[in-house]
């Protein structure tokens, strides 16, 4: 009996082993198929973008596009001379050359397809050009709480984070931020694509050269100048309206499991300072985004607390702040000055931060700005006067 049981057990074991080995082989086969990627797919991934809208790098024809674009030439073009990355600020024809941290990039002709690896840059691009020229968007671009181009992005070609997908799109120029992974940039450069890495600033006016640079690269000088003038006019209204006297100490905090304050060199901190406040976190020695506790907030003792995070979490966090006995004596709590602010204006680095500044001055100095109506920026809706209407 025990002998039979032993034989049966051995047979069962052998069957189990075979099943296990076959299972492992199946997994290995699937892994090999996945790695093989495009080689075995019937359609290349490049077909994600309609063929007629994709401009392969090889099709650039400098000779055909070298003539200057007369429509873009105007009196304010001299402002492009202040952009250090533009190699020849008198050249508004093609090819044109820029030098960013990735080295010299020659753009042979007006880019038909532009790709951006950052949300902030894409927001700027959306203001300067037809969104259809953008080769693709990423999933977080459609998040309405973070993105100022959620509506535009929703119906657009969406890709994942694999650089291979970008290569397949064959964009004429790629714009990366200083936060873009260096390996990604190297891979794209290695694939023969032109990648320009531009650094956006935490200051509305500090971003002007970057906007001009982006406009220059994509052949949207007139649109870039129009956007810059809009930013400068809005900032002038803010500056003129700021009252004299003591500046309020403003703390920007968000809670993601733990609590984080925005100190110096942060987008939120830049907005606070440009809106006439003192960044209380920076004032307390915090640099960048650092973790703080409720006790830290009591120690910083701000006059105003801003919570730039999605509304659902913000409401819970604000409730926690307002009911914490440890914060009862903090001026912001005592005076009910704890505010949710729209995160897409405060955390994504682009010209939309000016809307954050406008929102904040209305919050900090309501009487000084009671008769001012601030409006959202417009995205590209057609060629600006002097533009080429591409």
């Amino acid at each position: 009996m025990s002998g039979r049981t032993g034989i049966a057990r051995k047979i069962t074991m052998k069957i189990k082993m075979k099943v296990l080995v076959l299972g492992l082989m199946a997994v290995a086969a699937m892994a090999i198929v996945a790695c093989a990627g495009d080689d075995i797919q019937p359609e290349p991934t490049a077909t994600v973008v309609p063929a007629e809208t994709v401009g392969p790098a090889e099709t650039i024809s400098p000779a055909a596009t070298q003539a200057p674009r007369p429509t873009a030439v105007g009196p304010d073009l001299s402002r492009f001379a202040d952009v250090p990355e533009i190699v020849d600020p008198t050249n508004f024809g093609w090819p044109r050359t820029v030098e960013t941290s990735e080295g010299l990039i020659v753009i042979d002709s007006l880019p038909a397809k532009v790709h951006s690896l950052s949300l902030g840059h894409t927001e700027i691009l959306a203001a300067l050009m037809d969104f259809d020229r953008l080769s693709a968007v990423y999933s977080f671009f459609v998040d309405e709480e973070q993105s100022n181009i959620a509506g535009l992005s929703a119906g657009h070609n969406m890709i994942g984070f694999d650089p291979e997908e970008v290569v397949a799109l064959e964009p004429d120029v790629i714009i990366a931020s200083r936060f873009t992974n260096a390996d990604t940039v190297a891979l794209l450069n290695g694939a023969g694509l032109s990648v320009a890495r531009t650094a956006l600033e935490n200051s509305a006016l500090g971003n002007v050269p970057n906007i001009l640079l982006i406009g220059y690269m994509i052949g949207a000088e007139a649109e870039a100048l129009a956007l810059v003038e809009d930013i400068e006019a809005r900032m002038q209204v803010v500056t003129d309206g700021l009252p004299d006297g003591d500046k309020p100490r403003v703390l920007s905090v968000s809670k993601f499991t733990s609590t984080f304050a925005a100190g110096s060199n942060t987008t939120e901190g830049g907005i606070i300072e440009q809106a006439g406040g003192i960044n209380a976190a920076a004032d307390s020695g915090i640099e960048g985004h650092l973790q703080v506790s409720i006790e830290s907030i009591a120690a910083i003792s701000p006059d105003v607390i801003l919570v730039p995070q999605p509304l659902e979490g913000a409401n819970i966090f604000i409730e926690e702040l307002m009911t914490s006995p440890a914060l009862a004596e903090v001026p912001a709590i005592k005076n009910g000055e704890v505010h949710y602010v729209v995160p897409k204006y405060h955390t994504t680095l682009s010209h939309w931060n000016v809307r954050g500044i406008e929102q904040l001055v209305s919050l900090l100095f309501p009487s000084a700005f009671s008769d001012v109506t601030f409006e959202d920026f417009s995205n590209w809706a057609g060629p600006v006067d002097g533009g080429d209407g591409y």
């Binding site: 998040d143 100190g263 650092l290 830290s296 120690a299 995070q309 659902e312 979490g313 006995p325 440890a326």
Partner: protein, 365 residues
């Protein structure tokens, strides 16, 4: 896994199998007195320091007031900070450190390897996966208790799966338990990473990453009240069977011949250590190296008798994490570091030191 304790750990002298001798009680009493005193001092220090400046006299009077001696001289805000922010955090840091210390001691004993840690059988990975699911699904936003609950359940499921793997065929195998734990841990780690990578919501990603980094900064009395009974009960049960663990280290056959119910003792210890670890992970995330280095250091000082080693590892672990968390709170004040980063910064060099020392010893043999 080859034993690396050396003779003092694996070859348990006969004195470790009987009732506690005078020497054992002396080591236990001396160690407990020393660590207990240091812990009490550290409790006071940790309650007294922080970004908000509170005079030490106000802290002292508030603490005495809490135990029914005198009346607090602190301002209401100071009292609120001490009572509702610092004290729950101080207790939670001690509890989590104690949990990791004792469960690390148990795992190192059961696996006869000083490189074993509380998460070696996949419990920490299970907790992390549970917590990540709670955050990604939005359950953690519904109630503050859901995140630790999911993490604890995740730890429990991981433990159960690894036990099942180790018991396949009706025979329990420690080697299979270890390998199964590593496999399940890797599998769950992959799930956790997949959730992080695949979620579109950057805020969710941030929440997950900061939770995994480990910390006790969100501790509240409510969480202390939930974690404490599990950790204390599991710790007491483990200490209760510590003598049998000593015998198991000699050999299972010898332990059986001395009347030890090997399977029951081993499973009790494994379940206790897993529950303790699960409770710690649920409320603190993954805090590295405490469960690895604390029992090892204690063993170097007091020897391998688990009747002494386990309770002192609990005290030392609690004290270590309390010191680390206090440092994490004040080193960048008013900002703070995550305590998990600090323990790893201290623990990693020590771990390397252990590796190098073991290799040096081996080469001398």
């Amino acid at each position: 896994m080859a034993p690396v304790f050396g003779d003092s750990a694996t070859g348990v002298p006969s004195g470790l199998a009987g009732p506690p001798s005078g020497s054992v009680l002396k080591r236990l009493g001396g160690g407990a007195l020393l660590l207990g005193t240091a812990t009490i001092v550290m409790f006071v220090v940790a309650s007294a320091v922080g970004p908000f400046n509170i005079p030490i006299s106000h802290t002292a009077s508030t603490l005495l007031d809490l135990i029914g001696i005198g009346e607090s001289t602190a301002e209401p805000t100071e009292q609120a900070i001490i009572q509702s922010i610092r004290l729950p955090r101080v207790f939670m840091a001690f509890l989590v450190g104690a949990a990791l210390g004792i469960s690390g001691g148990i795992m190192q004993g059961l696996f006869r390897n000083s490189m074993a840690d509380p998460g070696i059988i996949g419990v920490s990975s299970g907790g992390a996966t549970g917590a990540v699911i709670a955050i990604a699904s939005g359950a953690s936003a519904v109630s503050t208790l859901f995140l630790p609950l999911f993490a604890f359940v995740g730890s429990g499921i991981a433990m159960a799966v690894v036990f099942l793997i180790a018991s396949v065929g009706g025979r329990f195998s420690m080697a299979t338990l270890l390998l199964g734990g590593i496999a399940v841990g890797s599998f769950l780690g992959a799930i956790t990473t997949a959730i992080i990578v695949l979620t579109d919501d950057l805020y969710v990603q941030r929440q997950i990453i900061f939770w995994i980094a480990g910390g006790v900064d969100t501790a509240r009395w409510e969480s202390v009240r939930i974690a404490a009974p599990i950790i204390v009960a599991g710790g007491l049960i483990s200490v209760f069977v510590a003598r049998d663990l000593n015998l198991l280290l000699v050999s299972e056959d010898e332990a059986r011949s001395l009347g030890v119910r090997v399977t029951l003792v081993r499973n009790t210890l494994l379940v206790s250590a897993s529950l303790i670890t699960g409770a710690a992970v649920a409320f603190s995330g993954i805090i590295a190296f405490v469960g690895l280095i604390v029992p090892h250091v204690v063993r170097l000082v007091v020897g391998a008798d688990h009747r002494v080693l386990l309770p002192l590892s609990a005290l030392a672990g609690g004290l270590f994490l309390l010191i680390a968390d206090t440092a994490a709170r004040i080193v960048l004040s008013p900002a703070e570091l995550r305590v998990g980063i600090l323990t790893a910064l201290i623990g990693a060099p020590f771990f390397i030191y252990l590796l190098v020392r073991n290799r040096s010893r081996a080469s001398m043999l």
